[in-house]
Symmetry: none
Subunit: 157 residues, 2 copies
């Protein structure tokens, strides 16, 4: 009882698994023709299965020579970090919460002070020209991606 999306997921996972460094390049059109589905279904699979929560980062490029780049990051570490900031609402992060989280990363020597300060310049509310509600989601998203990156870095040591 496997859907097309499940099969596409397995197919991609397999390629990632057989790759040297957990980084692969594939083409959306190739996948969609391989599985006889519309191209946008590949986006659906990416969006629902290759998330930061599941330990993946995805980048892409359009036009001639376009591709999907899928990057595997270790989920366990990601999860630990995600759990730490996810006290309360899942995706919404307040300013205070964000600062506390960064400070904790400094305490744990995951970031140095300068790194924290630089990051804060982008994360602080004054850098986000939108309403309070949106600011919260932006901070959430930004921190999640930061976490994904850091977790990946740890792995590669």
């Amino acid at each position: 009882m496997s859907t097309i999306s499940d099969m596409v997921e397995k197919y991609i996972l397999n390629i990632v698994k057989n790759s040297e460094d957990g980084i692969i390049h594939i083409q959306r059109t190739d996948l969609s023709s391989r599985f006889s589905c519309v191209p946008s279904q590949i986006n659906y699979v990416i969006k629902t299965r290759f998330t930061i929560e599941r330990g993946f980062l995805v980048e892409s490029k359009r036009g001639e020579g376009g591709f999907l780049k899928i990057i595997k990051i270790p989920m366990i570490q990601t999860k630990i970090y995600l759990d730490r900031i996810n006290q309360g609402t899942a995706n919404y992060i307040g300013a205070e919460q964000a600062r506390n989280f960064l400070n904790r990363l400094v305490e744990e020597k995951i970031l140095c002070e300068r790194e924290r300060n630089l990051i804060w310049q982008l994360l602080k509310d004054e850098s986000l020209p939108c309403n309070k509600e949106e600011k919260g989601y932006q901070k959430g998203k930004m921190l999640k991606n930061l976490i994904g990156y850091i977790a990946n870095e740890e792995e590669n040591k």
Copy 2:
């Protein structure tokens, strides 16, 4: 998976790298025949890859003995550079522009690679859950705050 434009870019970069002073003269027609493309594609490569954000200036001359002169901008004093960039930093910043800018700061040794990578996690479009228009202004705002911070880093100590 490399486009013609990518190859032309690499070819030129290599010549620049092997030059004494980072200044080279090449001919548009030579490049286009070498890579079997139309001459205007060389202009495309120049326009998209040899930008000021990436640290290049390009001059040219037409007619008999014409050429493209590609200049790798040498290191400038940190503060002057930041001020110039800050002046030139529009309110609206595209993703490519942002990345080029960060890379430039790394080249100038204003940021180290890790700092750039961390910052990119917050600045990239995937971290900004809003429409394209807003993303541009957010990146502009974030970069300005980042620059402001770096420019005053000494005094803030």
